[in-house]
């Protein structure tokens, strides 16, 4: 009996050593093992990392990122991760901390270099001030966490991810940097239009757009006889038709998008974040929609469709179901196509 148990212990120790040694030698040359909490970060990581990284994503794009089950299979993904990319701002508070706790992986624990909070460089909006209690529902206390709905923020996230990659693999820093620049350039061109980016430069356009000075700048400048305002293309050009349009959203999930593209949010189906509204709030909302001429109601597929539909019908506006993350609806397969799909859906709905 004693011999048997000694043998078992010896064999398991050998196996353990072999497995860990094997894992350590493999780690040096193998692609970086990157796990992303959400598809947006997964796709950007693929774009920047190329064949130097292997990316797995936890939540699928059709899921509500606030509510993901911390399944044991995700623990296994994180156990082997070199880097873990998260949205941060407590969007994933219900599921990322228990996953990290169970993964027993020092490389990705909170505060380790492998734990990459993608909100790090983001100018956060809608940060609550004063006392906040749960009586107000799910107020994200660090501000609105849905920053990926502004394509310009995608460029900042690319910066964060590329820095984390280069830190983990200094030898490949130039590779990551070149791919990051290409990605950022692609976003600029898709946002402002290729011609305008070539005329003005992406950096300057980004700065002007963030400062809210893009329109006056374009109106005041001209190139080869034509006002620059006529050169605005891309998603911003496409969305010009909707500038100032009043819209109603289900949740405050598109605040960054609305700010970037000049949509005026007239109200939310949710009275308080995460809490289903009562009939009096909805009746008031519909009344306001009729009064203000709201152009559309936007929701996500995971929310209660019946209530959104009823609000849209009663308020006399079309209902648009938008993805919240990459992969959240048909065709939104990467971060750029996500905005193609969203801007298409919005312009189509209002054009009707």
């Amino acid at each position: 009996m004693k011999k048997l148990s000694t043998a078992i212990v010896a064999v398991s120790l050998c196996a353990l050593t072999w497995l860990t040694v094997d894992a350590n030698t493999a780690r040096a040359e193998a692609p970086l093992n990157v796990v992303a909490s959400l598809t947006d970060f997964g796709k950007i990581a693929e774009a920047i990392g190329g064949d130097k990284v292997r990316v797995t994503t936890i939540a699928s794009g059709v899921q509500d990122p606030h509510f993901v089950d911390p399944k044991p299979s995700y623990v296994v993904k994180l156990r082997d991760a070199d880097l873990f990319l998260v949205n941060g701002l407590e969007l994933e508070i219900g599921w990322v901390p228990p996953l990290i706790d169970s993964a027993r992986n020092g490389r990705i624990k909170l505060g380790a270099p492998g734990y990459v909070d993608c909100s790090k460089n983001i100018p956060v909006i809608e940060v609550p001030t004063g006392q906040v209690t749960r009586a107000e529902g799910d107020v994200h206390p660090y501000g609105n966490p849905h920053y990926m709905t502004d394509p310009l923020n995608g460029k900042l996230v690319a910066e964060t991810i590329a820095a984390a990659f280069s830190n983990a693999r200094p030898a490949d820093a130039a590779y990551f940097d070149a791919r990051k620049k290409a990605f950022q350039r692609a976003i600029d061109e898709a946002t402002f239009g290729k011609e305008l980016v070539e005329l003005v430069g992406g950096k300057k356009l980004d700065r002007l757009a963030r400062a809210g000075e893009l329109e006056p700048f374009l109106a005041s400048e001209s190139a080869s006889g034509a006002s620059l305002a006529t050169k605005l293309g891309g998603w911003l050009g496409k969305m010009k038709a909707l500038h100032g349009a009043k819209v109603v959203f289900y949740h405050k999930s598109y605040s960054y998008f609305c700010e970037r593209f000049g949509l005026a949010v007239d109200g939310y189906v949710e009275l308080k974040p995460g809490i289903q509204p009562g009939p009096s709030h909805l009746a008031e909302l519909v009344t306001a929609m009729r009064r203000d001429g709201v152009k559309l109601v936007a929701t996500h597929a995971f929310y209660d469709e019946k209530i959104a539909k009823l609000v849209a019908d009663k308020g006399g506006a079309p209902l648009v179901t938008l993805p919240l993350n990459v992969g959240g609806s048909k065709g939104a397969d990467d971060y750029i196509r996500f905005f193609d799909v969203v801007t298409d859906a919005l312009t189509r709905a209002v054009g009707k």
Partner: protein, 468 residues
């Protein structure tokens, strides 16, 4: 219809109280939400020319009807503080109150055995099942600490305070290892290590309170767990604990207590073999994106105090299966099926009375199972059913020729229980529940018992981690 109207009224009140408070964060939003422009104190119509008060009332009615079937809860809201560059997180505190009210057709005396769990309602009337203070925090780069202090009011009306758990957990051991040490619940099966406010039913399964003890198996000790490098989730856990006290009911337990006609003696620890050892294997598989399977096996070994050299062994098998569509509305709908079977071999020493040998040394086989299905059919409602079966061996022993007497030893009785439960979650931090139990047991004078309990829970403080 009346119920729908009541709901509508409740919702209206909810919205009414809501509007008086601070709006959601919108400092940077281009246009304030409409509620801010209307009279905050009144849910009834504003001054729009478009809608008359009648219109608004009619609209409210329509929304009320549409809402009556599916209502909602808040998403997790963490402890609130603005983000001044960095927030120092030192201590997470939370408070949970769990209470029940109801009664049984069995007498109050019988109810104490019918509901044998330490947090079960044992009285007609009200029970403060569990008041729990939770402390959690990261100690340093290597350790985190957790503690739960439990307060209760026992059936005699006295307040009790208990150090339920207080332990450290390592954060950064190599080889995917983790150590836990202190006072904590043993990782036996699925239910044992969980707290009553996370349960799907008002009371504990019969087999758990019988074989692992009314409060579950927990004792000071140390645990090592290993997340294996296998491609699917496989975790091996081993722990060693003290073997005495009421939280080690199948082991040395409390001297003077009677188990199977044997009075427990004051047996001391003479070697490592007199401690309790636990091993557990837990794995998990995903069947597609929407179904997850978590099977587990557990075992406990340790001394019992019917004699100086008697031992107990407990074996358990458990299975958890959950279906939840990817596109779910804040967690709904889902179906979760959980079952556990627990088997105990209990060596009972020979027992003597005034006349002489009353019973020889015996090994008693006691076992039981429960299986429960919880269906989250519409947010925020869950419906659950559970079947319980448990039996203790009593044919094998006779005391002074009398044989087993279920009335004096109800915890060895053969029992069936069927339970149904309906739970409503106003938010993730509160719940209201109604449960019905049908019990069939030999020790009951009527053999059958019908019980109904309502339960309520509130939790405030830090957002606890979700377990799977």
């Amino acid at each position: 219809m009346r119920r729908i109207r009541f709901f509508a009224w409740c919702l209206g009140m909810l919205a009414l109280t809501a509007e008086g408070r601070a709006e959601d964060f919108v400092p940077a939003a281009p246009v304030p939400p409409p509620a801010a422009t209307s009279d905050a104190a009144s849910p009834s119509p504003t001054v729009e020319p478009v809608a008359t008060p009648q219109d608004q009332k009619a609209l409210e009615g329509e929304f009320a009807a549409a809402l009556a079937r599916d209502k909602h809860e808040p998403e997790p809201a963490p402890s609130a503080a603005p983000r001044p560059g960095a927030a120092l997180s030192l201590l997470d505190l939370s408070f949970d109150l769990l209470g029940a009210g109801g009664g049984s057709s069995a007498s109050e005396h019988e109810q104490q055995s019918l509901e044998a769990g330490g947090h079960d309602p044992k009285l007609r009337g009200f029970t403060i099942q569990n008041v729990e203070l939770t402390f959690a925090g990261v100690v340093d780069p290597y350790l985190r600490g957790d503690a739960n202090i439990v307060l209760q009011i026992n059936p005699l009306g006295e307040s009790t305070i208990e150090l339920e758990e207080a332990y450290l957990t390592t954060l950064d051991l190599p080889f995917n290892l983790q150590v836990k040490a202190g006072q904590f619940f043993g990782a036996f099966g699925r239910l044992n290590a969980t707290h009553p406010h996370t349960w799907d039913f008002v009371d504990a399964p019969v087999v758990n309170s019988r074989l692992l003890g009314g409060d579950g198996f927990r004792n000071p000790g140390a645990q090592l767990s290993w997340l294996t490098p296998l491609p699917f989730f496989t975790e091996l856990t081993a722990s060693v604990h003290n073997s005495q006290g009421e939280t080690a009911a199948s082991f040395r337990s409390t001297p003077g207590d009677v188990v199977a006609g044997r009075t427990l003696i004051d047996r001391s620890v003479r070697s490592m073999g007199d401690l309790v050892y636990l091993v557990r294997l837990r794995t998990s598989f995903d069947l597609g994106d929407e179904v997850t399977l978590v099977p587990g096996l557990s075992a406990l070994f340790g001394p019992n105090a019917t004699g100086l050299d008697t031992h107990s062994e407990i074996y358990g098998a458990d299975l958890y299966m959950k279906w939840k569509p990817l596109r779910n509305d804040q967690g709904w709908p889902f179906v979760a099926w959980q079952s556990e079977g627990i088997y105990r071999r209990y060596q009972a020493a020979a027992v003597f009375d005034k006349v002489g040998l009353a019973d020889t040394r015996k090994t008693l086989d006691d076992w039981g199972v429960y299986s429960q299905l919880v269906w989250g059919f519409a947010r925020p409602w869950n419906f659950g059913v559970r079947y319980d079966y448990a039996r203790g061996e009593h044919d094998a022993f006779t005391l002074a020729g009398v044989g087993y007497d279920s009335a004096s030893d109800p915890l060895r009785d053969q029992r069936h229980r069927i339970s149904g439960v309906l739970t409503y979650y106003p938010s993730e931090f509160s719940k209201i529940r109604l449960q019905y139990n049908f019990d069939h047991a030999q020790f009951l004078s009527a053999h059958d018992a019908h019980s109904i309990y309502a339960q309520a829970e509130i939790l405030f403080g830090a957002h606890g981690a979700h377990k799977f």
